[in-house]
Amino acid sequence: MNLPGQTAQGLYLDIGWAIVLAALVLALLGRRAGRLGVLLGVCGAIALGISLPAPWSPSFWLGMAFQYPSLMLVALAGLQLLRMQNPARWAGSAPLLSTLPAATLCVVAAAVYAGAFAFVPYDPYAFGYLRFAGAAGATVLVLLWTRFDRHSGWSCLAVAAAATLHAGTRLPSGNAWDALFDPFLVAWAAFVVLCAARDRFRRPSPALITESFGDRS
């Protein structure tokens, strides 16, 4: 195992949660987040809050409950903030977490969580400590997503950034799985998959549309 130092983890705890919180708050604000003043105000307030001494800093409590956000979640949140800087430029752009990456994350996380709860006889989490686990995992994901999901550009960029940061720093925990996903990201991915499934069921198929028009003519 090659584990990160405590100082690096402490810094990442603050920076990681600050980026995630800023993206979350701005997402909740909806269209108002598009104004530069709101964007800077929210980011500034969160940066100020996170930098407060221990008991008053949100990261002090988030760390107790949830430890560290995954690098992938932080990367996606960072990309979200980047896109919010200039909403007009990114209007109509592909979603940050498209369907295939979301579904893949759900499947991988389900396998790892099943191992953690001993629902299966193997423990994939231990493989996350292998030296090339992060880079290899990211390579497989990027190849898979690029091949089968043309909207997955942002997800590929986020997973590549997460793998690079993990390789350079071993953050957040030394385990590659913790760099690639966390329960919050998995919840987001599950939401994306459910929305996609709902849209698929709601949208009438081309065959039905033809049939319907045929009946009218």
Partner: protein, 383 residues
Amino acid sequence: MESRIRTVTALAIALAWILDIASGPSSPTRVAPAFAVAAGKPAGPSAPVTLTEVARHLIPGDPGKPSSHSSSLAFVPDPNGPGSVVAYWFAGARESAPDVGILSSRYDVAHRRWTAPRAVVDRHALALEMDFFVRRLGNPVAWVDSVGRVHLFVVATGLGGWAASRVVHLLSDDRGHSFRPLRVLPLSPLFNTSHLVRAPATALADRGALVPLHFEIGSKYPVALRLSPTGEPVEIVRVSSDETSLQPSIVALDGERGLALLRDHSDARSLKIAGTDDGGRSWTDRGRTNLSNPNSSVVAARLPGGVLVAALNPAREGRTELALAVSHDGQDWKIERMLESGARDEEFSYPSLLVAGNALHLTYTYKRQAIMHRVFRIGTLAP
């Protein structure tokens, strides 16, 4: 834009590989470990032993902390002296109380007395150093590495009860007097929660150790964390596929073979074991022993002659009795002596064993009020 994102992605992936390759081997030793016992000594029938009690003390506690529990012993060498036996335990107003901290005391072998307790770590100090809040502390386990530094593994909970526990790794460069946190051991993908430590580490031939741990929430299963000679985590292995086993205590039978005694969380209430034939790299379940276990912590140690000794609560229910048991194979145990037999509401539990020279040191929770220390001289019976 799409092509630019693709280019940056490809470059980032390439950089990840380069950084991984440049970082060198991830751990100092990934060779097969072996237990630190006399090389080539065959396991199996061994000379009968005698245990003669030579000392008994209540370790002085902190008067402001009336509840004491879960002690751990370590022999800390001293380059300028004979070294000392050090006990660590947690104490406070009650278990899980906000004032619970980890205390330590040293045993003066020559004068057979313990020093006044010393606060080692409390949750507020730990939280400030770790940068996140700690709700409660428990179960310290000490281990001394190949260069004499003392490692302390402490249970620290996050949001929730003991099932929300994490294991904090602390290090002392001054023979166990003061500690600084190194990290929370990364053991679980679920907010890194629900692993606890309890029994002492088992020495490996490379001067590293196996630290026994267990997963607590829902399924309860034991794992072992292998440490390098300097205390760096090397790998984690699952010790049992059983889902009602916790608080493993690992003991070597010989260089390659070892056993883990397992606290039983099932209704069967009997002591379970798992075994390894490759120095702890892989484990298989070996069934149940002939001893009861009232869902209570058990520890085992290997005596110099090869006999195994365990300290445990021998009744099917309750922790009012505490006993020493001996075994030659780890499967069949014989109660060697009863150590305590108390009234219905009295508790004698969470023992810890340490073999130092020809002495067996035993500590355990005494009525939840103090830590009892008993010393036995190890002898052999003429055949």
